[in-house]
Amino acid sequence: MASLARLRTGIARARTIPFARTLQTAADSTTLQDDASHSEPFAVKLHEESFRSSKTDTPSLDLTVTKDSLLKIYREMAVIRRMEQAADALYKQKLIRGFCHLAIGQEAVSVGMANSLTPDDNIISSYRTHPFAVLRGASIVGLLGELLGRQCGISKGKGGSMHVFTESFQGGHGIVGAQVPLGAGLAFAAKYMEKPVATYAMYGDGASNQGQVFESYNMAKLWNLPCVFVCENNKYGMGTSAERSSSNTQYYTRGDLIPGIQCNGMDVLAVMKAVQHTKDWVVNGNGPILLEFVTYRYGGHSMSDPGTTYRSRDEVQRMRSTHDPIRGLQRYIEEWGLASEEEMKKIDKQAKADVDAAVEEAKASPLPEEDKLWTDIYVKGTEPSFMRGREREEVSVNDSCSCCVVH
């Protein structure tokens, strides 16, 4: 098996020969620059292959972090992975139904972004967004309750996995790529209101071939909007590898006149640096910029996809064992002497206990009441005088007008 793995990497390298230097995606390649024994900020240096750029300079490799911030990030990543695993388990118990897209393996992107931005900055993303909701203000109970369709859910149990919003997170969106124009609109609003905030419009490598993504690029560049288009490239769309679906898989180069940066999306520190850099870029009036995170998901596209029909199990296990973002951060923390292995284990156990408790609390919450079906559709004060829809009681052919329910 080891020889097979070696052979496979050999092939992968041969395929990327046109690019003289490839982005490295190891999760633990950052080196310590200062003494990190106490909680004052210290400098670290990212691996020199952490970024690549197109039509702009790469971000600098120096980053300042603190012990507390790294431990907080570790805790968040551990909690989010546990939460996603709990969602997976609940789905396999048939307690969560319908759509459910998990981000196990991509924690570095969400946690790194959330830790480099302020709540005023906008993040809008697609349907793989459970981590963002939790990192931007929702509770774990609220998110799991939403997945379970319970009253305690952040959309009161009526939205589900694809419709999670918080005050500082503009939503998971179910239509592939449709959030990108919305993100451009948010950026337009920020510019119009002269607010110094950045908007991160996120999409995956699958959605990157949508026409509306390119339309948004065009308008953003035309009007110099403070928008960062973030391609979360986890190498596979729904059952198709990026190479099979995109003529150009260097997603950071696809913005025509818009500059782009490619970033190692498995190292949370590299993500933080890239986000800080792009935020400075757009807030200083340089117009839009593309940001591609090269990352990997361990599970299938959704719960209906076993995730092993278009890639080998060996590949997934290799990424798990060598590129895992949480294990990478754990290695930083232990090697730099910030915390011991026991303390890290303790954090892991606490994360598991917290999520288990949240699962039980969410399961105890009741299902939404039937008469609340017609509420929370419009913003308060903007409701029309009647709403149209279907109800399960209308079984009769005789009263032909029951299909238009007037309230």
Partner: protein, 346 residues
Amino acid sequence: MISRRVAGRRDCWPIPSSLRSTLISASPRPSSLSSASMQSLRLLCKTAAASGTSRRWLQTSAVRLAVSNFQMPAMSPTMTEGNIASWKKKEGEAFSAGDVLLEIETDKATIDVEAQDEGIMGKILAPDGTKGIPIGKTIALLAEEGDDISNLEPPKEDTPPPPKQEASSSTPSPPQSVPDKQDAQPSSPPPVRPSMHPESSRPLFPSVLRLLQENGIENADKIKGTGVRGMLTKGDVLTHLGKASGPMGTYKETPSDVVTKSGGDQTKPPKKEEPRLLDGAAVRQLIVRNMLEASVKARTPPAAPPADFDSVIADYLPPAKAPSPRAEASLAKPSKPAAGYLEGLI
């Protein structure tokens, strides 16, 4: 991985980390811990704990024995039960996240079940080849590294599998609301419904099936079918119920004023009152009538005068010449080529 913590499984002694590490390093792989060695280890722990000097051995951060139930997972939204093809991990074997624990056969495919977390296979409750295991049933016990797995016992099935719970909680509500609706209806058919399926030797249209169900007709063979190859139509059912004069007739029971009004429009000339409210049938009739008229008109073109050279060439001549000599030739122009052009298309 389906994991539910078993409460109250803390009766075993925590194993000192130093001991555990020596044991693990002595054996080639942690997975090959035999139950015998675990027993001896437990003994050691007990004696150590009994003596007063052992306090410092015991970890202060209590090692919790995390034995979790591994339940039959639903690998697809439609799966209700599955068979175990084979276990890929033996009892006592360690696994890491992403390893295949077992293969499950469902109604559609054979699927590998991966571990979400690292741990040790504690006890397999449903061996290879077990058939028809419902979702949610515990099929194995998983332990964490360092747990005593020698005397694991299958947990009592105190909670029923979750899908049943959900079904029982969601079903009571619709029947409550459905009868209210039914009572309001003018014709009160017997309340036996959607579950009842009418018997018939012939295939039935969905619309007919629904009509039969709503009117509680159980044996559809009693009704004579007048449709194609004797198929039952809605008209047949309505005739059988006495609600229509014949299978091709109109539905008699029309208490709502909308239907009567539009029914009147249907017989009167509907062309003149086009902006008025028309029902579906009237609109369809109107469309069909107009199409028929257009079609008939197109198929019988007005007799055109015989084509002579001048009338043919007239189209290609400059318009200056047209007014003076060939008034009647240009008159015949529009109808004839149009008819010829459209011929065969309509």
